[in-house]
């Protein structure tokens, strides 16, 4: 027994010490894009650049922001691949990004990039309504945002906690902007959110728990990013389907940036370019259900579901300046006065 234990310890230590690294240059990428996509680009890039070892850390975009901010005195990451425009705007304000103008800069609309080249858009993320297709028939599923506040969904909606989620903040923000555009006041928007709160069963802290609760029918209706729902629908057994809201939907821009203080600026730029070529964009669309932000990619080269979706999507006019000026205040009001109030009635 004793001997077995010490033998096991020695064996374990031998295995562990064998994991030494080679002498390639290490390029560190922080990204929320998930293992599959990151591994795909890692392999391709390392093949083209045999002297570079790409290492990525997969985490949520808010978490990347926090990490980059915490590491500001001693930056560890070289490339930040993936975050909504709002998050990158914040990072820009905090001086965390290194401006870089990619070779394809003109292929992006002005609202899809930073005016001072701190970040550029890579993918587009429409927000959609999702439902559990085992529990809700397609004909009965909500078709538009306003269907979600119908009392028949009371206790059946589960969404991410909007305080922690950039996606939910964007949806709530769009509702508020709509209210201001129609009435000039935020009150109608707050009223809408109050009704949504009354129907909401739970605000989950992360997407995984959201998918799990949705798949296991703790809640049957939700709203979230279309590419993520499409991934669940096409790649997992979780019975989820989604609807593109008929009146329009916020179209978020997801981007890429170089971290200020990177120790490998040259290699970082090479990676930046590598993952944003038209071929890389089409591969991401085919294999990882991303919608390219570049305007110079012909629709005919993209998969069918994206062409269908792009035909149906009506981008909601979202004024980023109004959002940036008021979103924090709206969310604060929601958190203090609306959250969890509806359930008690």
């Amino acid at each position: 027994m004793r001997r077995a234990a010490s033998a096991a310890v020695i064996a374990a230590l031998t295995i562990l010490s064998a994991c030494s690294s080679d002498n390639r240059k290490v390029l560190i990428v922080y990204s929320p894009h998930g293992k599959e996509l990151l591994e795909y680009f890692e392999k391709g890039f390392e093949k083209a650049h045999p002297d570079i070892d790409v290492q990525w850390v997969d985490m949520g975009s808010q978490e990347v922001l926090e990490r980059v901010r915490a590491e500001k005195p001693n930056p560890q990451a070289d490339v930040w691949f993936g975050a909504p425009a709002e998050t990158f705007d914040r990072a820009t304000k905090e001086n965390l990004l290194q401006p870089y103008k990619p070779t394809w800069a003109t292929a992006i609309d002005p609202e899809g990039r930073d005016a001072h080249d701190n970040w550029y858009g890579t993918y587009l993320t429409p927000e959609v309504i999702g439902y559990n297709r085992d529990a809700v028939k397609a004909a009965d599923a909500p078709k538009d945002w306003d269907d979600l506040i119908d009392p028949k969904w009371k206790g059946k909606i589960v969404i991410r906690d909007p305080i922690a989620s950039g996606t939910m903040r964007a949806i709530f923000g769009a509702i508020m902007v709509r209210s201001i555009q129609k009435t000039g006041e935020p009150d109608a928007g707050y009223e809408w959110l109050r009704k949504l709160d009354a129907n909401t069963r739970e605000y989950t802290l992360n997407p995984t728990i959201l998918y799990q609760k949705l798949g296991r029918q703790e809640g049957v209706v939700s709203m979230w990013d279309m590419p993520d729902f499409a991934t669940l629908e096409q790649r997992t057994k979780i019975p989820i389907a989604y609807v593109i809201p008929t009146s329009g939907t916020p179209l978020l821009v997801d981007g890429i940036a170089i971290v200020r203080g990177t120790k490998h600026p040259q290699e970082a730029q090479e990676y930046y370019e590598f993952v944003t070529t038209p071929e890389a964009m089409i591969a991401a669309a085919d294999s990882f259900l991303r919608i390219p932000a570049r305007k110079d990619i012909p629709l005919s080269k993209l998969p069918g579901w994206i062409r269908d979706a792009m035909a149906k999507i009506k981008p909601m006019p979202v004024d980023r300046e109004v959002m940036a000026a008021h979103l924090d205040e709206w969310m604060k009001y929601w958190d203090a006065n609306i959250r969890n109030r509806g359930r008690k009635q």
Binding site: A164, E218, R339
Partner: protein, 549 residues
């Protein structure tokens, strides 16, 4: 100054300086940070209903966790300490099992068992044909439930140890004087056990106050201080985060003060060694009932571990509305072992745990030696310094380190650790200092202080005395404390989530990343590896101890 005193100071000053630098300095930086804007951030905190609610909820959860842990731990300690019944050995063996479940893993296991769509919940719902789940694992109740499961172990261990030292003759004397069972319990047993109970209550309170993973997963919009700190940090409101951290640490220190004060009011000491045979339960019926009861507890204690193992074999995404996962596969393990980066986090966690524990052993041995055997002016300060990290929640420790060691500045004693490998070993070292120090201290207290003088008197050199007298006496504490420290460090989550960086990504962060990718199966398989690692370390420590004994 005599040469003895000079020597005391020579050893004490570096240890005290090291602890002041690593424990006090970062926390001072946090407090200073909370005032960076005068009283502005404090006003913001006091005006925010969300923060007031978080403070209230944190305290409610902590107090409730203390009572829930007492309600489980004390009866269980009595049952196992006082009675003999079939199944006792098995129950004793699994009673401390919850402590071996790493924090994040335990919470996830509970979600799969008792969550709205968990195994137990769905089974009850099916059996009784209910339309809705019988309960929801959410909010304060859910968090206290998880805390009670993981933290009752402290109460159980402390009270069991107290019962072992208990002098049976006192109880018999009371009985002889005509006291009935209830009177004996109330007037003799409980007062004598009070120090053990109070110490364990304190430990549960501290742990519950700083707990992060349970509110993080079950919170569902519930606000507690530890998650509120993370939220402020995410929003870039560092000043407010510092205020919240300071308030959290102050609540802990207030709790510490309160318990110390309660403890001081009772002064009973036990002179004898105690020892008492366990009573065999005579009545067959009660014996059978006790065994059934014990069996139920054993199942409840083992269930979360079994759940992790079960999920590690379930096919991801296949488990929707069924009671148990419908499809099983080796895929999760295959994926783990095919991954070239699999060993990296394990290697990181093990080496960081070893580094932190080695430092703990050296520093805590010296500190405990000084506290137990030497008289000098700084002794009280040293005692306070080694115990203080108990009272500082891990989030506060982590935030302090991040705020202090973010640049090289020798004039203010700062070195750049943020973004380097070394910041996590330092955090683990601080967290585990009280654990190792108290274990070594209690070992040394059992040694007769005159032995050291006797050895020196017989002409043994200082080194010889250390090696042949003091170290052997400290050994049980060093092994037990070191093992506990290493096990805690290897699965650490709360400080790691704030401080980790690419070069030192620990196991808990890898599990979190797998959960994020919806790979529950892979996360569970990884958790199984972590549990095995803890088991392996325990076996190694035990065999080491046996060889030395």
């Amino acid at each position: 100054m005599t040469s003895q005193q000079r020597q005391n100071w020579l050893i004490a000053v570096p240890v005290i300086a090291l602890l002041l630098w690593s424990v006090i300095y970062p926390n001072a930086a946090v407090i200073a940070g909370s005032f960076e804007n005068g009283l502005g951030h404090w006003r913001e905190f006091l005006a925010s209903p969300a923060d007031r609610e978080a403070l209230r909820t944190s305290i409610v959860i902590s107090v409730a966790s203390v009572f829930a842990s007492l309600a489980i731990g004390v009866p269980l300690a009595f049952l196992l300490g006082r009675f003999e019944f079939p199944g006792r050995r098995l129950l004793r063996a699994v009673a401390t099992l919850p402590a071996a479940l790493p924090p994040l893993v335990g919470v996830i296991a509970f979600l799969f068992l008792y969550g709205e769509s968990g195994v137990v919940t769905r089974a009850i719902q099916r059996t009784f044909g209910m339309a809705e789940a019988p309960w929801r694992l959410q909010g304060v109740g859910a968090i206290v439930f998880v805390h009670a499961y993981t933290m009752y172990v402290y109460v159980f261990l402390f009270v069991s140890a107290g019962l072992e030292r208990f002098d049976a003759t006192l109880d018999e004397a009371a009985s002889g004087l005509g006291a009935n069972t209830w009177q004996r319990l109330r007037r003799v047993t409980l007062p004598l056990l009070m120090p053990a109970i109070a110490a364990s209550m304190l430990l549960v309170f501290m742990n519950a106050l700083g707990s992060f993973s349970a509110p993080y997963v079950f919170g569902g919009g519930l606000r507690v201080l530890s998650t509120q700190i993370l939220a402020s940090k995410t929003n870039g409101a560092m000043g407010l985060a510092y205020v919240e951290t300071t308030v959290l640490a102050l609540s802990a220190v207030a709790g510490l003060g309160l318990f110390r004060w309660l403890d001081r009011k009772r002064k009973y000491t036990l002179a004898s060694k105690g020892g008492r045979a366990r009573r065999t339960i005579r009545s067959r019926r009660i014996q059978r009932l006790t065994s059934i009861f014990a069996a139920i507890i054993v199942v409840a204690l083992v269930l979360p571990h079994l759940m992790v193992v079960l999920v590690s074999f379930a096919r991801d995404g296949s488990w929707t509305t069924q009671v148990l996962p419908p499809e099983y596969t080796l895929e999760n393990y295959r994926r783990l072992f095919s991954e070239s980066e699999l060993w990296r986090p394990i290697y990181n966690s093990v080496s960081m745990a070893l580094i932190a524990t080695a430092a703990n052993l050296v520093v805590c041995f010296v500190a405990a030696y000084l506290i137990v055997f030497r008289q000098f002016a700084g002794r009280g300060l040293l005692e306070l310094l080694v115990a203080l990290p108990w009272a500082i929640p891990a989030t506060a420790i982590a935030l302090g380190l991040a705020a202090t060691f973010n640049r090289n500045d020798l004039a203010t004693g700062r070195i750049l650790l943020v973004g380097t490998f070394w910041i996590l070993p330092l955090a683990y070292f601080i967290r585990d200092t009280p654990l190792v120090a108290s274990a070594v201290e209690s070992s040394l207290r059992q040694m007769d202080a005159s032995l050291e003088d006797a050895a020196r008197g017989l002409g043994a050199s200082w080194l010889m005395t250390m090696r042949r007298v003091i170290l052997p006496a400290a050994r049980p504490g060093l092994v037990a404390g070191g093992l506990l420290a290493a096990v805690t460090a290897v699965g650490e989550f709360v400080a790691s989530v704030v401080l980790y960086t690419h070069s030192n990504r620990p196991i808990s962060m890898e599990i979190l990343a797998q959960l994020r990718a919806l790979a529950f199966g892979t996360a569970a398989a990884y958790s199984v590896l972590l549990i095995l690692l803890v088991l392996l370390m325990t076996l190694a420590a035990r065999s080491f101890e046996e060889r030395l004994a």
